[in-house]
C-alpha cells in the first residue's frame, strides 16, 4: 500500500501541530479507534476495531513518533497486532507548512499487512488500507473544514 496527498487546513500551524499530537484527536480520526493514550512523549498505545465487510478484528497498536521536527513534521511508525487476523505495520511521513492563512499538510503513507489477512484477503488489502489511511486525513482535515 502506498498513499500520498496534501490538504489545506484553515488553521494556524501551531494549532494543527498540537492537534497532530493529541491522543483525543488521533482517536477521533482513526476509524474504529476505541482507546488511545500517550505512554511517553512520543509513544501512543491504541485499541482499534477494524471493520471491513464481514471482517471485524481488534488490533492493539503501538504508535511512535520519530524524527520529530517541532512545528514542521514527523514520521509515525505504527505497528498493530490483531490476534488471528495478523498484523499491520505502517509508516506515515507527515509534514506541515505554514501558508498565508492556513497550514498545508502533506503526507506519504506506506504499510504492509501480514498474517491471515494478507494470506486470505490479498485482493482487498490495497483498497482497504488505502481507504483507512485516506479516512484518517479526511477526518483530520474535516475538524476544521466541516462546519464552514
Amino acid at each position: 500500500m502506498e498513499l500520498q496527498g496534501e490538504a489545506d487546513i484553515p488553521a494556524p500551524l501551531e494549532e494543527v501541530w498540537n492537534a497532530l499530537q493529541d491522543p483525543d484527536v488521533l482517536k477521533e480520526c482513526i476509524d474504529g479507534c476505541q482507546e488511545m493514550s500517550r505512554s511517553t512523549t512520543t509513544d501512543y498505545v491504541a485499541k482499534i476495531r477494524a471493520h471491513v465487510g464481514p471482517v471485524r478484528a481488534n488490533f492493539s497498536a503501538n504508535i511512535r513518533m520519530v524524527d520529530v521536527v517541532e512545528l514542521s513534521g514527523y514520521t509515525l511508525e505504527v505497528s498493530a497486532t490483531g490476534g488471528a487476523a495478523g498484523f499491520g505495520k505502517g509508516v506515515a511521513h507527515i509534514s506541515l507548512q505554514e501558508e498565508e492563512s492556513s497550514t498545508k499538510l502533506s503526507y506519504e503513507v506506506s504499510g504492509i499487512v501480514g498474517g491471515k489477512l494478507a494470506q486470505i484477503g490479498s485482493r482487498l488489502i490495497n483498497g482497504v488500507t488505502n481507504k483507512m489511511a485516506a479516512q484518517f486525513f479526511e477526518k483530520f482535515v474535516d475538524r476544521w473544514t466541516a462546519n464552514e
Binding site: A118, Q119, I120
Partner: protein, 782 residues
C-alpha cells in the same frame, strides 16, 4: 464368460467401493478415546529472531491442556528434521543443511513456521490457546528473491551466501568446445514458477503413546509410512524404530507433499507422551498453504548449440533453485539428480553441462512436487528446442525427429549420467501428430485468425527417469536410504491371497493393479486377492510411493514374491503328485505334470501347504507365504510426445485449450484405465502450472496466494477433454516390463502448453502462469 481381470485389463477398482459410499477411512476420520487436539502457533513474519515466547495467558485458558515450545522438544532431545540426500558442490564440499528444529527455538525463517503448540480439549480450545500465545520478535530483513539470494543478507549462521550447494553435472570443456563449433545458438531465460501441491485432503496426524509397552502409534497422511518411521526414529529421535507404529490409512492425494517428514507429526507424537493422551492435528487449508512443502521455483538460463543442419551439439544450463528456508526431506535431490540428469531429453546431444545453485530464501521449504525435477528439466529442454526450431525456421517436430535417439541405439548412455534402456520416440511422435491432426493445423490457425483469435500448437517430447531406485545408484549419489521395495505374498489356507506391499496407495489404485498382477500370475480370481499397505506393522518394509515407482519397483517385488510362491507350490505339488519338482509345470492356476492326467488346482496346493499331513519336513516346510525385496538395476524411462493446441482471445487474454494429445510409452501396462487416469491427473497439474497456478510471496514475505481465493486451482471448466494413447517398448530390466506412469502428465504438459502459447502469440517467451493479463499484455505487444 468371466470378465478378463488379468494383466492388461481395465478392471474396475476394488478401492472404489468404499470411496463412492463415503466409507473410506482417512486420518481425520479416526478418533481415539481421550483424544486431545493440537494447534500450532505460527510465525506471521518471514524472518525474525525470537527474543521470548509468552505462553502464560494460553495456559490459563479454559480447555487448554498444555502448551509447548521448541525448548521443550529440545529438552527431550528431539532432533532436527533432516534432509535425506547429501549433494556435493563442484569443489567436492558437502551441501550445507542449516539446523531445522521441528518447532523453532532461536529464530523463525518463513511465514507459517511453527514456534509453539497448544494442546486443547477441543480443536477450538487449542486454536483459542494458540491465539493467546505471543512472542517478542526482533524482525529482520527477509530474503525473498531467489535470483539475488546469494547476494542478500545471510539467513542462517552456517550458510554463507545463502547457498546450500553449487553443483554441476556433465563436461564443461566438451560443452564449451561444442558451442565453438555451433552454427546457431539458441538462448532462453525461464522461470519455473512456485507451485503449492494442494492435495485435497489436508495433512493430519494423530499420535498416541501406550505407557504399558512404551510404544507410539502415529496415524498420518504419509505417502511412505516406513520412511516416516525411520526418520522419526533414527534422526528425530522420537522413539526406537520398533516402538513406533506408523499407519497411513486412506490418504487423499499426495503429489509429493506427503512424502516428507514434517514438524507437525513429529510434535504430535512427541506430545502424546508428554500429555499422556492421544493428540490430533488436522491442518486447515490456510495452514496447508503455509506449511506444506512447495514445489518447483527455479530461475534458469539455457543455451543450445546447433549445427547448420539443426543437429544438437551442446547444451548449457544454469539454474538457481529455491530451497525455501530449510532443506526439506528430499529437497536437495530434486534440482540435481532428478533434474540435471534429464537434460539429454530424447536427444543425442553429445555435450551437456548443467550448473545448479541451491539457495535459501525466507519462504516455505521447497521439495518434490509431482514430477520433481523432471518437469523442470523437460521445461528447459523442450522450450529451448522449440525456440531453436523457430529461430531456424524449422518445423519443431522435424527438428526433434532429427535429433532423437533411434530405437537401434539403445541402451543409450547420455552425457548426464543415465543409461536409457529402451524407447521409440518417433513412434510416439508420429502417433501424437496423427491424433492431433497436425497436418490440418495451418487451416485451423487461419480460421481462428479470421475470427480475431490467435491459435498455437506446441510440442513436448519429454523423458523421465523414474521407478525411483536403484539403491546402488542412489546411495552412490548421496541418498540416505535405499530405494528398493518389499513385498509379501501370503496364500491363505483356503487359497485366497493377501499381498503386503510397502508401496502406499493414495489414489494410484494399488489395491486393484497389484491384485490383477497376482491373480494373473497365480491364475486365481481377482476377487480372491487382497492388498494391504500403509501399515509398518503389517508389511515388512517399504520406501513408499513417489517417483512413479510403485509398479516398476513395488510391482516387481510382488511379482518376484509371487514367483517364489509358484516355486514353492511346485514343490508341494510334486510331493502331492509323487513326482519331482522339475516335472511340475504351472499355468493358469493349475499345477500339472505334463504328459500325464495328473493336476492340482492352486487351492488344493494351498490347502495342503497348511495341512501338511505327510510333508517330508526336512525337505519341505509347511505354509505358503513368500517375501521379496526388489531392487532394480536401473531407472525406468517413460517417454512420450504431448501436443497442445490453444486458442487465445487477444481482447481479454483468455486461453482455451482446444486440444491436448498425450502419447506415452510406459512399457507394459497392467491396467489401462488406471494408467489413463494417472495421465489425465498429471496433465491437469502440468496445465495448471502453465496457465493457472502460482505461489506468490510479496516482497515483505507474506504468502499472498494463501487460499483458494487467490491460488488458482484447476477446475473442470479450465480443462479440456484429453486425447491419450500409448506406445509400448517394454522396460528391459524388470520382470514386468513396466515403466510407471504417475508423473508423465505433469512432466510433459507444461512445456507443450507454453510452446503452444508462445506460438499463438508469436513471442519468444512468456511467464508462467500465463494468466489472462500476462497473455493480454503479450498479445498487445506481440
Amino acid at each position: 464368460m468371466a470378465e478378463h481381470t488379468g494383466i492388461g485389463a481395465s478392471v474396475k477398482r476394488k478401492e472404489d467401493a468404499r470411496f463412492i459410499t463415503g466409507t473410506g477411512r482417512y486420518t481425520d476420520d479416526i478418533n481415539l478415546p481421550g483424544q486431545t487436539y493440537c494447534a500450532f502457533v505460527r510465525s506471521p513474519h518471514p524472518r525474525a529472531t525470537i527474543r521470548s515466547i509468552d505462553t502464560s495467558q494460553a495456559r490459563e485458558m479454559n480447555g487448554v491442556v498444555d502448551v509447548f515450545v521448541g525448548a521443550d522438544l529440545a529438552q527431550d532431545e528431539i532432533g532436527d528434521l533432516p534432509c535425506g540426500w547429501l549433494v556435493k558442490s563442484k569443489d567436492g564440499s558437502d551441501m550445507i543443511a542449516p539446523p531445522h528444529p521441528p518447532i523453532a527455538t532461536q529464530s523463525v525463517n518463513y511465514v507459517g513456521e511453527p514456534y509453539a503448540l497448544v494442546i486443547g480439549e477441543t480443536p477450538e480450545a487449542a486454536k483459542s490457546g494458540a491465539e493467546a500465545v505471543s512472542a517478542d520478535f526482533e524482525l529482520q530483513t527477509a530474503v525473498m528473491d531467489v535470483a539475488t539470494a546469494t547476494q542478500s543478507e545471510q539467513i542462517h549462521e552456517s550458510v554463507p551466501s545463502n547457498r546450500s550447494y553449487d553443483w554441476e553435472l556433465g563436461d564443461r570443456d566438451a560443452t564449451d568446445a561444442a558451442f565453438e563449433q555451433a552454427a546457431h545458438i539458441a538462448k532462453i531465460d525461464i522461470v519455473n514458477n512456485r507451485l503449492i501441491p494442494n492435495a485435497i485432503e489436508p495433512r493430519a496426524a494423530l499420535g498416541s503413546f501406550d505407557p504399558a509397552s512404551e510404544s507410539y502409534t502415529l496415524y498420518t497422511t504419509s505417502q511412505n509410512p516406513h520412511l516416516e518411521r525411520l526418520v522419526l526414529a533414527a534422526f528425530v529421535n522420537v522413539a526406537p524404530e520398533a516402538k513406533l507404529h506408523v499407519i497411513s490409512p486412506d490418504v487423499g492425494g499426495g503429489f509429493g507433499s506427503k512424502i516428507f517428514v514434517y514438524a507437525e507429526e513429529t510434535a504430535v507424537i512427541w506430545a502424546s507422551a508428554r500429555v499422556g493422551r492421544p493428540v490430533k492435528w488436522t491442518a486447515e487449508r490456510s495452514e496447508s498453504f503455509l506449511a506444506d512443502a512447495h514445489g518447483r521455483d527455479h530461475v534458469t538460463h539455457a543455451e543450445l548449440a546447433l549445427s547448420e543442419e539443426g543437429e544438437f551439439l551442446g547444451l548449457r544450463v544454469q539454474t538457481i533453485a529455491n530451497m525455501g528456508a530449510y532443506l526439506s526431506t528430499f529437497a536437495s535431490s530434486v534440482p540435481t539428480y532428478l533434474y540435471g540428469t534429464l537434460m539429454a531429453g530424447q536427444y543425442k546431444t553429445p555435450a551437456i553441462h548443467v550448473e545448479v545453485q541451491a539457495v535459501f530464501t525466507n519462504t516455505a521449504p521447497v521439495d518434490a512436487y509431482r514430477g520433481a525435477g523432471r518437469p523442470e528439466a523437460t521445461y528447459v529442454v523442450e522450450r529451448i528446442v522449440e525456440t531453436a526450431a523457430r529461430e531456424l525456421n524449422m518445423d519443431p517436430s522435424e527438428l526433434r525427429r532429427r535429433n532423437f535417439i533411434r530405437p537401434d541405439e539403445f541402451p543409450y548412455e547420455t552425457p548426464v549420467a543415465l543409461t536409457y534402456d529402451t524407447g521409440n520416440y518417433e513412434a510416439s511422435l508420429d502417433r501424437a501428430l496423427d491424433l492431433a491432426g497436425y497436418s490440418g493445423f495451418a487451416a485451423r490457425k487461419a480460421q481462428s485468425e479470421a475470427e480475431g483469435k490467435r491459435r498455437g500448437l506446441g510440442f513436448s517430447c519429454y523423458i523421465e527417469a523414474c521407478g525411483l531406485a536403484p539403491s546402488q545408484v542412489a546411495l552412490s549419489l548421496g541418498a540416505g536410504v535405499g530405494l528398493f521395495e518389499s513385498a509379501e505374498v501370503r496364500v491363505d489356507v483356503t487359497g485366497s491371497v493377501t499381498v503386503m506391499t510397502g508401496a502406499h496407495s493414495h489414489g494410484q489404485g494399488h489395491e486393484t493393479t497389484f491384485a490383477q498382477l497376482v491373480s494373473d500370475k497365480l491364475g486365481i480370481p481377482f476377487e480372491n486377492v487382497s492388498v494391504v499397505h500403509g501399515d509398518t506393522r503389517r508389511s515388512d518394509y517399504g520406501l513408499g510411493t513417489y517417483g512413479s515407482r510403485s509398479i516398476a519397483v513395488g510391482g516387481s517385488a510382488i511379482a518376484t514374491a509371487t514367483d517364489k510362491i509358484i516355486t514353492k507350490g511346485k514343490k508341494i505339488a510334486a510331493h502331492m503328485l509323487q513326482s519331482e519338482e522339475e516335472n511340475v509345470s504351472f499355468d493358469d492356476g493349475i499345477f500339472t505334470i505334463p504328459d500325464s492326467n495328473e493336476s492340482l488346482a492352486f487351492g488344493e496346493v494351498a490347502f495342503s501347504a497348511y495341512v501338511p499331513g505327510n510333508f517330508p519336513l526336512d525337505e519341505l516346510e509347511p505354509g505358503l507365504s513368500e517375501k521379496a525385496f526388489y531392487d532394480p538395476a536401473n531407472f525406468t524411462y517413460p517417454a512420450g510426445t504431448h501436443i497442445c493446441e490453444v486458442e487465445i482471445d487477444p481482447q481479454t487474454g483468455c486461453t482455451e485449450i482446444v486440444s491436448f494429445v498425450a502419447v506415452d510409452d510406459f512399457g507394459n501396462v497392467i491396467n489401462p484405465m488406471i494408467v489413463e487416469g494417472q495421465v489425465h491427473g498429471g496433465l491437469a497439474q502440468g496445465i495448471g502450472q502453465a496457465l493457472l497456478e502460482h505461489g506468490i510471496y510479496d516482497s515483505d514475505g507474506q504468502l499472498v496466494t494463501g487460499s483458494y481465493m487467490d491460488y488458482t486451482m484447476p477446475r473442470a471448466d479450465d480443462l479440456p477433454d484429453f486425447t491419450v494413447d500409448t506406445t509400448v517398448t517394454p522396460c528391459t530390466h524388470n520382470p514386468l516390463g513396466v515403466k510407471g506412469c504417475g508423473e508423465a502428465g505433469a512432466i510433459g504438459a507444461t512445456a507443450a502448453v507454453m510452446n503452444a502459447m508462445t506460438d499463438a502469440l508469436g513471442v519468444k517467451n512468456l511467464a508462467m502462469p500465463a494468466n489472462p493479463e500476462t497473455v493480454w499484455r503479450a498479445a498487445q505487444g506481440g
